[in-house]
Symmetry: C2
Subunit: 228 residues, 2 copies
DNA sequence: TGTACATCAGTGAACGCGCGTTCACTGATGTAC
DNA sequence: TGTACATCAGTGAACGCGCGTTCACTGATGTAC
């Protein structure tokens, strides 16, 4: 290992540490993350951070991309852990709980990804690609259902404009899936994130206490409706 | 009208104007609303605001309470506008569109109510009462369905802990409604807010373009599942 | 009806703070010959 | 293997800014007698 790569590795280490510290700060400061506070926490002078990130926005972007990746990792490995690949419902439930568990454990990051947009921050296109890995897991389940013939058929009459929006998606990511089936999948998807967001953002406080059971039940019923 | 009430009326006017200005600022600054900026916009000196609100948090609280009230007004009047009170589906669709229309037209306020919690702001209990008016509209529809016997029956086996959480709600707000029926209603509710949040927070960008049609379709299918 | 006093809205200066970002610098690490 | 040079991480001071909140004040509006 050349000495050159030592410097590179230290750089990678410190970059990682900056992001970890920033993530901790997200929890208390929300989206108005302060570079100076992060630097202070690391015992550095604030200007030193500029060796690693060109601006506050760039750090935010890195956090967002990492967040999407971490969520996708959790979701994908939950899906893969289901031994019976044909058990679509088990796979659906696995990814639902993976999303919720991750969101509850990393609520500040979840808020950064799925909460109100950060004032003054314009998400660069790189974040879009990162965002699509998680829903891809659901589409994969639906696609497998089509391939195995176990996804229930649909007779969901779609408005033409909606069909036109969904057609390119089925075409490129799950050929054979009908737009109606995809629409049902999205309904489940939106239920999933609606439920998680309500819980994480405190809208369920004083209403539902058995959070996990409530969530599990709702997602199980959603599965019914998706057809898995 | 006594002269005393002139002062009172001016006070009410200016209070309203402060809140309107603050609402405008929410759109660009998000939750880190600045008192000074609001004052500047009104041509006042920043300390003058303290005659009207004891602190920034108090202004935020007022905005949140107003927001919940405005949303509830929109929802209630949309419900009431449905002539055939027995047409539960029409009423459900009316409140869904009322929520979405309001959210799209007032996205910054929507974010304040349903987005990430504001860092450092602890919602006082007054906001909780304000928040409950909107869901009450749904419960009213479900209750009417029970009374009319048109709400489809349910055979949804609920986990005991969830049933226990929901029982006090059915009991006090819609006697006769089963917990399973309420759970279905909440599923629709969470779909509704999940869908609106994804749209308002930009998660549907580059995916669905026919926003209104998509939403309408999804909520119509949700109605099916709720049983209205 | 007129006067004395109390209430209140708005002013302007100040306190103490934190922020993102730039810049010239030092000293250590890595590279080329 | 040793030396001369280039690269890079981190420092510390500074710029210019905005923030929430307090306080003593002025002058207008309202109230009591």
């Amino acid at each position: 290992m050349s000495t050159g790569s030592i410097r590179a590795r230290v750089r990678a280490e410190i970059t990682k540490e900056i992001k970890m510290t920033a993530r901790r700060h997200l929890a208390t400061d929300g989206a108005n993350l302060s570079l100076r506070a992060v630097a202070r926490d690391m015992g550095m002078v604030s200007s030193a951070l500029y060796r690693y990130f060109a601006s506050r926005d760039e750090l935010l972007t890195a956090l967002i991309i990492d967040g999407y990746a971490a969520l996708a990792d959790a979701v994908e490995s939950a899906d893969v852990a289901v031994a019976d690949r044909g058990d679509l419902r088990a796979r659906w439930m696995a990814i639902c709980h993976a999303v919720r568990d991750w969101a509850v454990a990393n609520s500040a990051e979840y808020a950064l990804l799925f909460g109100s947009p950060v004032p003054g921050y314009a998400a660069p296109t790189e974040t879009i690609a990162a965002a699509s890995r998680t829903p891809a897991a659901l589409v994969r389940i639906l696609g497998d259902g089509v391939r195995l013939g176990t996804l229930t058929d649909d007779s969901e009459p779609l408005p033409p404009a909606v069909r036109a929006d969904l057609a390119p998606i089925t075409e490129s990511f799950a050929p054979g899936l009908t737009e109606g089936q995809l629409a049902r999948g999205m309904r489940g998807w939106l239920s999933l994130f609606g439920t998680v967001s309500f819980e994480v953002f405190g809208q369920l406080n004083n209403v539902v206490h058995a959070r996990r059971e409530f969530f599990d039940h709702q997602m199980r019923q959603a599965a019914e409706q998706i057809g898995v």
